[in-house]
Symmetry: C2
Subunit: 309 residues, 2 copies
Amino acid sequence: MNTKLSGVLAPVLTPFDSNLRPDHARFVQVCRWLIEKRCGLAMFGTNSEGNSLAPDERIDLLAAVVDAGLPPYRMLPGTGSCSLTDAVRLTQMATKAGCAGVLMLPPFYYKNVTDEGLFSFYSEVIERVAEPTLRIYLYHIPPVAAVGISHDLVERLLKRYPKVIAGIKDTGGDWNYTVNMIDRFSSDGFDVFAGTETILLDTMRAGGAGCISATANVNPVSIVRLFDTWQAPDALQQQETLNALRLCFSQFPLIAAMKSAISWATGDRNWLTMRSPLQSLDDVQRPLLELKLRDINFSMDGLEPLQVA
Amino acid sequence: MNTKLSGVLAPVLTPFDSNLRPDHARFVQVCRWLIEKRCGLAMFGTNSEGNSLAPDERIDLLAAVVDAGLPPYRMLPGTGSCSLTDAVRLTQMATKAGCAGVLMLPPFYYKNVTDEGLFSFYSEVIERVAEPTLRIYLYHIPPVAAVGISHDLVERLLKRYPKVIAGIKDTGGDWNYTVNMIDRFSSDGFDVFAGTETILLDTMRAGGAGCISATANVNPVSIVRLFDTWQAPDALQQQETLNALRLCFSQFPLIAAMKSAISWATGDRNWLTMRSPLQSLDDVQRPLLELKLRDINFSMDGLEPLQVA
């Protein structure tokens, strides 16, 4: 499957049951809801608590959404790992499932590793997976992973694996890095996705491909609308509206706040659960967030509390 | 098995075959050699490329050394993981195998997590493993993991799980942190291991329990001797000799340098292999290291090149 990804993708929040196991039914439900809102599925990202999952848990969750009939060509699962073995296994599984691509963190335990070492890691994954349909999107998020992706590394990977290296999610927070990345590589078919919708308009104007953003979990329709109409006269106004909603969430620990908002909007308390080391909002934060949500008439339009038999 | 750990432990280097798979035969061989040198086995640590291994690879390697008849009560495998599921599984396996304890990193993907979140992570592991023989040594290595272990976190864990929380490996590089840790908790039976033998003498004088140090892989006899005789008149001189050898290695990427030294001393080239993102010494570094090794008459006394049938 080689439909090229573009537009808006959500790093899908992972629901857990009361025993902290991934909750397949709610995961399928929210993935279906996002697809209906025309949002792609970048499951197992940072905002998905993806690295808090064991490899088998990621494999089983992906199988659940594919088996539920959701379109793999709209999926970009996170398959990065500190372990080459796990990165290969996860990438293989995603490629065989027909996913549009994989979003791959560099191995992030060792710090100050060389570009040579990172090149070698990605290269080993590509050679071992050995699937002609494999498309890798690099994941640059130095504020969390600490290990980043340099422009020189991208150049070297693109030269060696021009068909496989398909793009990047850029959550670096450095606009010069972003623009230079687009200028230098977009003519090679390398797609740059902003890591937050707060720079979606700028990214589209600069020649980017869209955004993969946390808040797409709770605001997909408006973000997709800006992507669709970024050349319209009201684009800047749309961007400002997106930013206002983002700000409402980013005053709190973001992942916990989004889970709380879904719980509040649907009345489904199961959405509150998080896996350690991340924590749910506390009893001071949650009412504060809920006040704001009420203020802005927040809703998860059409997402019903799940009735599990 | 509740023999309390003390003394010198090596974060055992992990040998890989030419296909980058863990090399069980060489791993068992080097573990046996370290035990003969009276060095404990802190396998799957930072210097073991432990986080570059998949959970099943750690499980199989531990089974190999236990099956080979090496004493589990001298083993302290690294069982930390970003994923609660994997940390529980690895800790369970080590405890059931009769290991003296486990050395557990905090989950290290998310940065700036709260002590509450880390307490919850360790607490979940302890409650889920639910083995009365479980002994956890915390692993404080902020220069690599970025996520550290605060004194307040130790206090809280010790209060809730006084028998389970057994000590810490301190690779923070901050002597005040170390001394305060010893002063505050050693009377509760909490053992502080230095993360490098360069401060072994100071650590013993301050009331610590020993060291868990990279270079114990290549210099076990002399480090164990200082541990045994730290109150002898020549202790400071011994410490200076240890430091000189350490310096010889730490001028290079340390893990690669130790693997190169073993390869050089034994004539076994298989020891050169490393897993991405870490890399072997290059063609400039290796001869430089070998000159130094020749200078100091470096040897891995009694470790023979492995003849594999």
